[in-house]
């Protein structure tokens, strides 16, 4: 297992957003976390990335605990994420966005800056090479020098994935990568997600669009009211009685 949670629980006051959740992700797989609105999917991401502290449970990456780390420490351990609302550095150019994304793989600090040390120069060169590589990987070359806030929504989605990829993560968490994007534009994002998988990055995604989930996931984890109600390959999950009930209400599951 590249990644796993054990008994992960988060309570906000009296509300249990995530309850005793255990699931794992094998290296190189795409795992989707699905569930009706309010099922606790984004909370799971926020727990994994250190935005929220779990009330109970453990999170492990490559066998090492990452529970309770701060967001920037989780990122340094090799977990990158995108946000549900498309998030880029809007004032900076697309290229600059990708350069800063690579920052955690560089060590230059205040003193390297003041001395313009060889380290600073090398780090800068390395970050720019990474950004160039991602520009072509994500097919964003023609937006290179535009302010990230001014490019189309779908391109911003790709860029936000690019910023996360620039950190060279082991595990990439995508929170609704096609949210707010036209159906016709989904395909380009799906292709990119498959390319990322092919490059060896393990992916966990939250998604609502079932066509996409069924098409690209190796495994699917279904949440409802914070608890895992089903887990397995896409086909078996889509036939699961509990899952159908959670989405459509009791009584809709086909009777055998």
């Amino acid at each position: 297992m590249l990644f796993q949670t054990m008994g992960l629980t988060k309570r906000f006051g009296g509300l249990t957003a995530v309850s005793d959740l255990s699931f794992g992700i094998e290296e190189g797989q795409i795992v989707s976390v699905i569930g009706p609105n309010g099922a606790g999917k984004s909370t799971v991401f926020n727990l994994v990335t250190g935005v929220h502290r779990p009330t109970a449970g453990r999170i492990e990456l490559m066998g090492r605990p990452i529970t309770g780390l701060k967001p920037y420490q989780v990122a340094r351990q090799g977990v990158a994420r995108t946000f549900q609302s498309t998030t880029v550095f809007g004032q900076d150019t697309v290229f600059e966005n990708l350069v800063i994304g690579h920052r955690l793989r560089t060590g230059s600090g205040l003193f390297s800056a003041l001395l313009v040390s060889g380290r600073e120069r090398g780090d800068r060169k390395k970050s720019m090479a990474k950004a160039e590589e991602l520009l072509s990987f994500l097919d964003l070359e023609h937006y290179r020098d535009e302010a990230a806030g001014n490019i189309p929504q779908e391109a911003q989605k790709r860029l936000s994935i690019g910023i996360a990829l620039a950190t060279e993560p082991k595990l990439l968490l995508l929170d609704e990568p096609t949210g707010g994007v036209n159906l016709e534009e989904d395909d380009s994002l799906i292709r990119i997600i498959q390319k990322i998988k092919a490059s060896g990055v393990t992916i966990c995604l939250i998604e609502h669009k079932m066509k996409m989930v069924m098409g690209i996931s190796d495994r699917v984890v279904v949440l409802s009211y914070g608890s895992k109600i089903a887990e397995g390959d896409p086909q078996s999950v889509s036939r699961d009685k509990n899952v159908i009930e959670a989405y459509l209400g009791p009584g809709y599951a086909a009777k055998d």
Partner: protein
Amino acid sequence: MNTSPLRPGFLIPAAILLLAVVAPLLSENRYLHHLMIMACVWGIAATALNLVMGYAGQVNLAHGAFFGIGAYTSGLLMLKLGIGFWIALPLACLTAALFGLLIGMPSLRTKGAYFAIGTLCFNVIVTVIIDRWENLTEGQRGLLGIPPPSAIPLPFGLTVRFDNNMVATYYLFLIMLLLTLFVTRRIVVSLMGKDFRAVKGNEELAASIGINPFRTKLIAFVTSTFFAGLAGGLYASYIGFLSPDISDFHVTFEVLIQVMFGGIGTLAGPIIGATILPVISETLHALAAYRMVAYGVMLIVVIIFLPTGIMGGLKIVWTKCITRK
């Protein structure tokens, strides 16, 4: 990209620097020299505030306090302990930076308006302490007779003296301003500067790519207070007199307005603001009580029509000129 030495990004600053170097030699006017010296002091203070506010996005409203701490540190060291200017000045910077660290640690845990109000409170506290700790600071009587910078010996028996030598004082302060500007530039174009921008742009996103927002803000804050201390230390030995007012939040807002007026988040903006605004303020002296009204109206006009300050306005004009060609 235009990298020729004749591009405006190089030519204009070079011309202004040349003007700044020769100007005091062209005129004997002591008042002009005074304005230029003060432009350097405020230019350092404004550049420092711009680093934390314009580049790292943290509205620090305690800047006047750090200016005051720098001023009082060098003033007290020179007056009460007889320490020389060249030792007292770096100690003033370090003391301001130390207070910056102590104040930054708790206050940078808050964000936005809370941070602004928190630092403003600290500013008021510092002024009250300076005012009331009479055994140390002489309170409202003020510190009188702070000596000018000690002379610098040169080869061949020559010395550069700063007492009653406004031109030498000006050149010393100009060098300090250029040093501040140089360090600021180094930081903002570096990878560290990109961290500042990222934290200013979106703290949550910055953290998600491994940037430690708290540490980044603290570095910006402490560096800023270091140079606020430098400005204060220079001010003390030039004016020779300090009262608690010099650490007051009015100083904070004066510098803040200089930064906004000149162009926040640009290297030249704060210096433009620090040069022009004191002159306008002095010119309006004739209006007596109405001065602040006129000043206020002017600022409102600038902020409404040029939200990015004079530098922002110049950039718009420049872009128009290029596209028309």
